[in-house]
Symmetry: C2
Subunit: 327 residues, 2 copies
């Protein structure tokens, strides 16, 4: 078996053409209140406004679009804690393909319900005792369906890279160069795609992954130069960011292009979600707010700089959200 070829900038441009008719072009936002608070010029990339409420639709639609017509009737299978599930389900619906999603039984109810609303079949598993990848592979094998990996796939990475392409084009349109671009990382697909696009246009821009405290496998791996798992044993409120180790393909890209990783505690993430409610008027889920949290907590050297912060998703249960904004 040969190694899958890493995606290139041209693959991201191709993904942008594929996505143009269906994805939302999420224009960057700025907030005088945020600039004042941080002393930076901040541009927010609001992927909460993307179809399905997160960037995951981009990679999923790009991947599904690459499946030959003859294989589409057998459908797709994916395993996901939530946003990838919705992305795959929505993409499958648009392309008239059946979809099975393997989800942890403790995933937020909103994410489970929304996945079903796109017409997907949901299969639940126990996060502590079962192997979701094994379950998904078995279903894919039985049905002849294509397994859609959440991050470690060239088409998925290229799709997420359109986030970076839009950031780069937005900055060029404004005549601005960014010093830093920070994005949440779980498997690292979003950052790998962003890195390919941003570094192509702005080689001097520094890139940072943002992770929940303890779930810092990217920070550790980028630091040591090899893929390392995190050592967290509990949970984080960032349910979207619990991957245990960077992907192989994603890390091959990120190791080369990303400067390092920052983290934020659950309390800092909660404060960022509340800040986004109060000052930005954007609904951001905990995992989607971790880069903003790191910025607000002073975990990146932003003062006086131009910084792009990716708000990667906004799918959060009303109960949890109510608790976070009233703290």
């Amino acid at each position: 078996m040969t190694d899958p070829v890493l995606p290139t900038f041209a693959d991201i441009e191709a993904a942008a053409r594929t996505l143009a008719p269906v994805a939302v072009r999420t224009r960057m936002l700025s907030s005088p209140a945020l600039d004042e608070r941080t002393g930076a010029r901040v541009f927010l990339k609001p992927e909460v406004l993307q179809r399905t409420g997160s960037f995951k639709f981009r990679g999923a639609f790009n991947k599904l679009s690459s499946i030959p017509e003859s294989q589409r009737a057998a459908g797709v299978v994916a395993f996901s804690s939530g946003n990838h599930a919705q992305g795959v389900a929505a993409a499958a619906q648009l392309l008239n393909m059946p979809a099975v999603i393997v989800m942890p039984s403790d995933a937020p109810v909103s994410k489970r319900e929304r996945t079903k609303s796109y017409g997907a079949e949901v299969v639940l598993y126990d996060r502590d005792t079962e192997d979701r990848e094994q379950i998904a592979r078995a279903i894919a094998g039985q049905r002849g369906a294509v397994l859609v990996p959440p991050f470690d796939d060239p088409k998925v990475i290229a799709g997420q890279g359109t986030v970076g392409l839009e950031i780069a084009e937005g900055l060029m349109h404004l005549g601005v160069t960014s010093d830093l671009v920070a994005a949440p990382a779980s498997g690292g697909g979003l950052m790998a795609g962003i890195a390919l696009a941003i570094k192509h246009r702005f080689p001097q821009t520094g890139l940072l992954t943002a992770e929940p405290e303890g779930f810092d496998d990217h920070a550790r791996s980028l630091n040591s130069g090899r893929r390392q798992p995190h050592h967290a044993e509990g949970r984080t409120i960032c349910d979207a960011l619990m991957a245990s180790i960077p992907g192989e393909l994603t890390f091959a890209i990120n190791q080369r292009l990303v400067a390092g990783g920052v983290t934020a505690s659950d309390a800092e993430v909660a404060e960022a979600v509340a800040f986004a409610f109060r000052e930005l008027k954007l609904v951001v889920e905990p995992g989607g707010a971790v880069a903003l949290a790191a910025l607000l907590a002073g975990r990146m050297d932003a003062r006086g700089k131009t910084v792009v912060i990716v708000l990667s998703g906004g799918n959060v249960d009303a109960e949890l959200y109510a608790r976070l904004i009233r703290q």
Copy 2:
């Protein structure tokens, strides 16, 4: 005393130049979920993303900028249930002017606190027993300060009109003509400004005010052709939309340019706030969501049409918001 001259399209263009360095240009958003739900092509004008969290900053800054330098030291006074208060306070802070805001004692705490955060002095009054306009006039008289009316003022109307100008420019950029533009109405300043701008560029577009059920003074007045108060005696969750009768200047404009008014019940507004949380990922306050509520409740003939919905503000207490999104 001569009648104040009604603002014109040229006044709105001048306001846009005044606002350009400080206001956020709130680009219109679209949502596949909303289009699917309504069968319309909907553009959202997200004034929740404006400085201070509502469109009110526009009119306030334009008005304060028109005060001669020699009179600025005496400051400004305004009476407001909240968003106008924040708009005036923030504009005064940017222009280095003192500001006194007369607010009802039952205004949302978030609005009161945010007003203070912009450096304004807040004076509370009892909505049921005291006359806020009288109190504000007395303070203005004592200090030689300028009273900044919430809506019935040519400079304020011209400032709010920049919302309409941006809508018109956004539509032209997209090569789209809108069939309908709907916006929340209290005193009618936002709609008067929007009407002047939209009708200048798109004479065929229909304009609709949106009000809380019962607080339908615009619907009644537009229907009868003369200013009429509403007959509501209780409260509405739309605390921003409780003016009792359309303004004189605003109605002189709206009577000529606006097709009619729609309403939404508090329950429909609550559903719209929750929809914006769940599907749009935008924090919208009840009063800011009333046009969206009327659309979602089928109160306007939108199917198959291109519709612009103004989300006028997003300043809502966390407690109330938590209750609305969990329903």
